[in-house]
Structures are given as C-alpha cells and as structure tokens.
C-alpha cells in the first residue's frame, strides 16, 4: 500500500525549473531512495514534501490525506519527520534537548499548564525525557545526552538529527544525505541503523550520494536528472539503465 504519493510535482525558482512534473509513490514499510547527480532537484523534492517550499503545481498525499500546502509543523505532526542535508541542530542546546524538539508535537502542555505545574504536565515531561533518552540509545548517543550538540562529531550530529526525527514517532522518515561526512565505519553502522528503523515499521525515504549505501539499504530507487524523473526501479535494474549511466557519466560523477 502506498504511504506517500507524489503527483506531478513542479517547482520553479525564477527561470530555473528545479523539479519538473515528478511523480512517484513510496509503499509503506519500504526503504526508498531518491538519487541523481548534483543539482538534480532531490532536496527540492524533499522540501516540497515537507512543506518547506510551496509547490507550483502537483500534489502530495500522505496516508490517504492530501497534504499539499499544509504548514511544515502540521505535516510533521501527521507523521513525516526529516533530517537536513546541511545539519541543522540547536547547537547551543544539549543533545537531549535537541531530541525533545522532535517530541514536541506529541506533547500537549501549554504555558498555563506549565505555570500551574499540573500533575499530568509533569508526567508528560518525564515521559518525553524517557522517550528522548530511548531514541538516543537507539542511535547510540545516550552517553552524550547532556553535552551540547555542537560538541558532537559530524557523523554523530547526523545521528542526532535522526534521533530528533524519530522522537516524533513518524510513519515516514526522510533522510537527506545521512552519510554525508561519515567515514566507512560510520556508514556501515548507518546502513544497519536504517534497517533497524525499517524494522520498527517506519518507512524510509532517503537521498544519498554514497552508492554503496544506496545499493545496500534501498529496495526501490527513483533517479532524477535536471528536475525530471528518468528512472524508477530496483537498485540492480537501475544500475543497468542506460539513461542513468548516461546521466552519471555525463556529469562526470564517478561514484557509480
């Protein structure tokens, strides 16, 4: 069953057609990859799904509901969480607090209940901290919980972004180049982590340049070039696709 449906999505920046009538659908429970040469419009597609950019045309549906044009925070609450290509953590705050940001949309207390220190409000706080710690254990950062986020290594900052996204109990997690800046060891651990995320029943949609990771982790791939979809298939088939080979060789990218 399809969890996320992207229909004829189009986005223009001035004269540049960044995303041109792209459609694909992500089945529930899959690890789905979005690949393509630099500047192909992959991150823009993510930003269109999560409501960071407004669509020029087309539509996005999630779990049967039309989410086109909904504000980002509402989309997160509906069950789509994301990480950022350029790491965006709350760098002065602790690792734990960063994860609590992701938990925010599953909590209810507001300013009045906080000032009254109601019993349920305190319980909710405790549970949120417990959940955040559990997510930190899940990605392997529990020992760092009280350190400021800015002190983490690059690879660990990526993991923290994943923990923050997971804390919102998403049905779909969108990872934008999760292996960027990671060494081989870290990347291997990441492949394992992605598998464990899927085992929790969370659908994964990812952009990645590291082809070994894509080939190992993904079950289905969509290939973009110049904002257009040029292929969609299983990894092994995509690897043979002449259009895809052309796109990568033509752009001088030797990862493939």
């Amino acid at each position: 069953m399809s969890l996320l449906g992207v229909e004829n999505v189009t986005k223009r920046f001035g004269g540049l057609l960044a995303v041109d009538h792209v459609s694909f659908s992500v089945p529930e429970g899959a690890v789905f990859g979005l690949i393509g040469p630099n500047g192909a419009g992959k991150t823009t597609v993510f930003n269109l799904i999560t409501g960071n950019y407004e669509l020029d045309s087309g539509s996005v549906s999630f779990a049967g509901a039309n989410i086109t044009g909904k504000p980002t925070h509402r989309i997160v609450a509906m069950g789509i969480a994301r990480t950022f290509q350029t790491i965006r953590l709350f760098s002065d705050m602790s690792v734990l607090e960063n994860v609590l940001a992701g938990r925010h949309c599953r909590m209810r207390s507001g300013p009045v209940s906080a000032m009254l220190r109601l019993k349920w409000q305190r319980k909710e706080e405790r549970e949120a901290i417990g959940k955040a710690l559990a997510e930190l254990r899940f990605v392997g950062l529990a020992a760092q919980a009280e350190n400021p986020a800015r002190n983490l290594s690059y690879g660990n900052q990526r993991l923290l972004e994943i923990a923050r996204a997971l804390a919102s109990d998403p049905r779909l997690i969108i990872l934008d180049e999760p292996a960027g800046g990671m060494n081989e060891l870290e990347t291997a651990a990441l492949v394992n982590l992605i598998g464990r995320i899927r085992d929790r029943g969370i659908t994964v949609l990812l952009i990645e340049h590291d082809m070994s990771l894509v080939m190992k982790a993904c079950e289905q791939l969509v290939v973009l070039e110049y904002g257009k979809k040029i292929a969609e298939d299983e990894p092994d088939a995509v690897k043979q696709d002449p259009l895809v080979i052309e796109a990568y060789l033509g752009s001088g990218d030797e990862d493939f």
């Binding site: 607090e97 507001g110 009280e146």
Partner: protein, 326 residues
C-alpha cells in the same frame, strides 16, 4: 560544573532574597522607593525576556504594553472607582489584545526590521496618549488621582508608605519569578528557545514557530500590562512621558546586560540599570556619563550578559534506568 559551585550559586540567590525582603527595615523611604522601581522594572524585564530572551525577537517597544496596562487601570479606576487590584487582569488582557493585533502582521519581520517597527509602535502609542486619543487619556498632562491598592480594607500608598508598597511589589515579582521559571523549563519555553536558535529546524521538528512567537509576545504583553497597574497605582499619576521609547530602551538594556534568557540575569540587570544611576548621584552632572561608560565596559567584559543562562539539567540518571518502548 562542580556540584559545590551549584550550591554556592543557590546560596548567593538565597542571601540576596533575604537581603531584599528585609530591605525596608534598613533602608530609608527614598531608597525603598528606588527598590520599588527596581521591582517594577525587574517584572517588566522578565516579561520582555520571554519575547527577547527566549523568543529571540528584537523587541524595543515593550513600554507600549506597559502603557496600555497603566492607562487601562487609570482610566477605569478614575472613571468608575473600580479598585485598582481588580483591574490588574483587565490591564493584562487589554495589553494582550493590543499585542495580538499589532504582532500578527509584523511578527515575521527579520531582526532589525522588527526592532524599528516595535520602536515605531511605542512611539505611536506615546503620541496617541499625548494627543488625548478618544478623549480619555488626559493628553500630555496624563491622569491624576488613581487610587492606591487596598488589601483587606487597608490602603497601601506607594508615596506615603513605600515600605508597604514594597511588599506588594515583592509578592508580584516573586510570583513572576516562580511562574516564569516554570514556563522556561517547560515544553513552551523549550519551543521558544528552539525557534530562537533555528526557526527552520524548529518548524521541521514539528514546532509551530510562528504560533509560539505570537504567544510569547502576548504573554510578555499581558505581564507588562499587569505591571502597568502596579505602576499606575504606586504614585497615583501617569503621563505619556513615563512610556517613551527611552523606557523601552531601558527594559531592553536590562535584559541584554543582565543576560538574555536568564531570570537571575534579568533581575541583576534591573538592579544595575535602575540602581546604578541612583548610586552615582554624588557625581551630579557626570552621573549619566559614567553610567554610559559603565554600560559599554560591562558589555565588553561580559558580552553574553553578566549572568547568562545556565545549561538546563534534566533528571537523566533517574530516567536512564527505566525502559521505554520505542
């Protein structure tokens, strides 16, 4: 941080609190009144801190909300004789409603653009008061004859008995401190800090950044409005000059000098900004000059403010053991 450093800090706060509470016993009327002003500005600083410190919005027009609270109190009290303390919630609501109306269209403006718009807002409010808008503000002369608060039938006159008024203000300030530190360490306070730190990341984590910014504005405004009641009732007289742009600047300096986002910092900021010019009185005409130099020097030596916010501690150890299903 070493655990004993934490205790030293707590001990120091307790000592200051005791000194504060006993102040009317060892200070004369004049200095007690200075402390009353410190208390009022401390409450104003704490309310601005929600907007500027946690929310990170460059707001230099806080005196407008203070003015609306004070004028609401003055107008209703002098016209219908409603006891001033009853008017506190109404003053807060009036300021809050005004804040919603004003903040909605401007809240998305970036840093310095928001700064000048809030300056414009406070100037417009002051000019409206001077021009006796709706014929109820008394123009440039302001409003006289606001009654003193009374508690259990006993009048508390801020001019005759500043020592009594001191305790009224201290109760209000104490409540403000407790409520706002609960707020700071809650889901709401965190959401504001996330928004301040990185709005895109906050929204991407599921936080309604625009909504929280507006809520911060309203809470700050409501509190400044309520503080306005206590100010108006203190001397029984208000005029537009008490709510000028310069007043907003003073509140702004209290927050930044003390430590943006830090409750102890803001309290210290209020003591310094309101208290120092009084201490420098012996310097006569050089008083403000020295004050200006002190401001520059303190900012250079403590750019984060004198008491920047301490990192938040969570009961990690206690919760580490408990298993949570993912």
């Amino acid at each position: 941080m070493k655990p004993d450093a934490d205790n030293i800090r707590k001990g120091a706060y307790a000592a200051v609190a005791v000194l504060w509470i006993l102040a009317p016993l060892y200070l004369d009327k004049y200095w007690t009144d200075v402390l009353n002003n410190v208390a009022i500005y401390a409450a104003l600083g704490l309310s601005l801190n929600i907007i500027l410190g946690y929310g990170g919005m460059f707001h230099m027009g806080h005196a407008a909300f203070f003015a609306i609270g004070a004028y609401t109190t003055a107008i209703v009290n002098t016209a219908w004789g409603v006891p001033v303390l009853w008017l506190m919630p109404f003053a807060g609501i009036a300021a809050g409603v005004f804040a919603v109306a004003v903040a909605r269209p401007i809240i998305h403006l970036r840093g310095d653009y928001l700064l000048i718009v809030t300056i414009g807002m406070v100037e417009i409010v002051r000019i409206a008061l001077v021009n006796n808008v709706f014929g109820i503000t008394g123009g440039a002369n302001g409003i006289f004859g606001i009654s003193s608060p009374s508690i259990f039938g006993r009048q508390i006159n801020g001019v005759v008995a500043p020592g009594h008024y001191f305790y009224l203000l201290t109760v209000f300030l104490g409540a403000t401190i407790i409520l706002f530190s609960l707020l700071e360490h809650s889901r709401f306070g965190r959401a504001l800090k996330f928004t301040c730190s990185d709005e895109v990341a906050a929204t991407g984590s599921g936080i309604n950044a625009a909504g929280y910014k507006l809520a911060a504005f309203v809470i700050g405004a409501v509190w400044a409005g309520m503080t306005g009641t206590l100010y108006a009732a203190k001397i029984g007289f208000i005029s537009p000059e008490s709510f000028s742009f310069w007043e907003s600047v003073i509140m702004f300096m209290i927050v930044i000098l003390g430590g943006s986002g830090s409750i102890p910092g803001v309290l210290l900021g209020a003591i310094l900004i309101i208290g120092l010019p009084e201490l420098f009185q012996g310097l006569q005409q050089y008083r403000l000059l020295i004050f200006g130099i002190v401001l520059v020097v303190m900012m250079i030596f403590r750019p984060q403010g004198i008491l920047p916010p301490a990192p938040r501690k969570y009961p990690v150890d206690k919760l580490e053991k408990q298993e949570v299903s993912l």
